[in-house]
């Protein structure tokens, strides 16, 4: 079997993201995730750079790789052209592929995103959709949103949208042809497989916990 490091190196984001880290800490200084959680991109890049399989395992089955917010501020600032945010993308992909994501609390939460954003894409053609966003799941939406949602047919028509109708325009119904294209692309390029990995990894974890 290929080593974790080899598998990571096959990912072009890893090749783009890791040159040689001098451990200067600039990324950590500007990182919004480091400001609000126990997360340190400098340390993470150092750990990856050790190429030590045990250290990499610790990353792949832990919470740290799930803390990054993918703002990519680190890309702008690293004096050595590294991008911790890209290294994270490769680590997350490998963590799901190997099933190790399900060992961490944060990794397991990927299921929530797959079942919302992931499924919305195939149902509506977009990542988010007004019909799915209620103030129970999203209380920060607030009372104006609640009022908007209750009256959406009329308000969206007033604002020139094409809500749930065929043709062009805001919040239109996406044609079956386009949805079929997305579905076919998801099958061909491994998104369906990844969805399956997320579902089965999380299901196994839930069973083990019981």
């Amino acid at each position: 079997m290929e080593s974790f490091y080899q598998l990571l190196s096959n990912d072009i984001r890893f090749q783009e993201g890791l040159k040689a880290c001098i451990s200067c800490g600039t990324c950590t200084a500007i990182c919004p995730a480091a400001q609000v959680s126990d997360y340190d991109p400098r340390m993470l890049v150092e750990m990856v750079q050790t190429r030590n399989e045990e250290v990499l395992l610790e990353l792949l089955n832990g919470d740290a790789i799930w803390r990054c917010g993918e703002c990519l501020s680190c890309k702008t600032r690293c004096p050595r052209g590294n991008t911790p945010g890209h290294i994270i993308q490769a680590l997350r992909a490998l963590s799901i592929k190997t099933g190790l994501f399900a060992d961490s609390k944060q990794g397991n939460l990927q299921l929530e995103i797959k079942r919302t954003v992931g499924e919305h894409i195939l149902k509506y053609g977009y990542c988010v959709h007004i019909d799915e966003i209620d103030t129970g799941k999203y209380p920060e939406q607030g009372p104006v949103w609640e009022w908007f949602r209750e009256n959406r047919e009329s308000l969206l028509a007033r604002l020139g949208a094409n809500y749930n109708h065929e043709g062009a325009g805001t919040l239109r119904k996406i044609s079956n042809r386009s949805l079929e294209d997305l579905q076919a692309i998801f099958i061909e390029t491994g998104a369906m497989e990844r969805f399956q990995q997320i579902e089965s990894g999380s299901a196994k974890q839930a069973k083990d916990e019981k």
Binding site: E70, G125, E166
Partner: protein, 354 residues
């Protein structure tokens, strides 16, 4: 002087003059549902431009991609499909209405330059799954780049300036360009990562005053998976709070945001902070209004604020309209398509609304 000008030139970018292919945004459509319609209206009716609004286009998958639930290959192939639709429509200037998408499109194009075999693989995957082929866009920009390009033409048609109608002082305006506009590929954004000017240029051209504050470049806190997972949302609100705390001493009258996600967070987290801490970042208790650049352009051009969808913001925009001297109907705010009364939203606990 020549040197200085030359240096500034390196912060400029090529923005096509006409004939655009338009790609909508997942977030802008839902939360600022008039913005894209206004953008198209301004381009077609005010500026006389040709822009194609294709019913077949879809998400770029950016939110799913940055949350780690789909592979890079999927995103590349969906992006390739968008380019194929553009090619099929006979266009070559691609315009997207979302900063996350903008970052995604540029990233895919850059990766294909660095890894040509990946572009080949994507072409094969697209052909196999959809039968489509594509050309790379000649020009690829964000919608705000186009508003920036034509800011002086818009100013020439303006019915108001971004100034306080009593006293005539310029309004103090915070710009938020969004991380993925210029932090990933600084040379692709007007002004680069150091001096992003895409929104500041609008403020300057339309009579307002830029607010420079310490956390001006800090992330709004979206964090993709960090917002999407309910229990992680503290990440998001805390980062927005850093910004509000940092800008408040400068007394901004308005925030303009580039990315629909940022606009949404900077609006809604003010409501949440007010509910949690009974705290607002203006002196009157209404909060600081947060608008998209299309909405601001619409106001400058004299459009009715309720046709711009400003009644759908949680932070009330009426204090801003009063400062600007916009004449608006208070009853019209809560009316539907045929002028019917739709009731009113409930009042927040602390955040004041008119």
């Amino acid at each position: 002087m020549k040197n200085k000008n030359q240096r500034w030139l390196s912060y400029q970018k090529e923005i096509a003059d006409d004939h655009y292919y338009f790609a909508r945004s997942c977030i802008r459509q839902n939360f600022f549902p008039a913005s894209e319609t206004i953008f198209l209206k301004i381009l077609r009716e005010e500026l006389g431009k040709d822009i194609f609004d294709d019913p077949e286009q879809t998400t770029c998958t950016g939110i799913a991609y940055h949350s780690g639930i789909i592979p890079l290959e999927t995103t590349m192939t969906v992006v390739a499909r968008q380019f194929a639709l553009m090619t099929r429509a006979g266009h070559e200037n691609f315009v997207c209405s979302c900063v996350t998408s903008f970052g995604i499109y540029i990233e895919v194009l850059e990766l294909w330059k660095h890894f040509p075999e990946q572009e080949k693989k994507t072409r094969e995957a697209l052909l196999k799954s959809t039968g489509l082929d594509f050309k790379i866009p000649v020009n690829l920009v964000h919608t705000s780049d186009i508003i920036y390009k034509f800011r002086d033409q818009i100013a020439a048609k303006a019915s108001l300036k971004l100034v306080n109608c009593t006293g005539g002082n310029p309004l103090k305006i915070v710009d938020h360009v969004g991380c993925h506009y210029a932090k990933i590929f600084p040379d692709k954004g007007i002004g680069g990562a150091e001096y992003p000017y895409v929104l500041a240029g609008l403020i300057d051209a339309w009579g307002g005053e830029q607010v420079d504050y310490p956390e001006r470049r800090h992330c709004c806190g979206f964090g993709f998976r960090q917002y999407l997972i309910k229990e992680n949302r503290g990440y998001s609100v805390t980062n927005s709070k850093f910004k509000f705390e940092s800008m408040a001493p400068y007394h901004p009258d308005l925030i303009i945001a580039n990315c629909p996600g940022c606009t949404f967070f900077l609006d809604r987290w003010q409501y949440v902070i007010s509910e949690m801490e009974n705290k607002t970042y203006d002196s009157e208790g209404y909060g600081i209004p947060v608008l998209t650049y299309e909405e601001v352009a619409g106001l400058v051009l004299g459009y009715d604020p309720w046709d711009l969808g400003l009644q759908l913001h949680q932070v009330d925009v009426e204090p801003l309209l009063i400062k600007l001297g916009v004449i608006y109907s208070q009853e019209g705010k809560y009316k539907g398509m045929n002028g019917e009364e739709l009731g009113k939203p409930a009042k927040p606990q602390f955040l004041k609304t008119h």
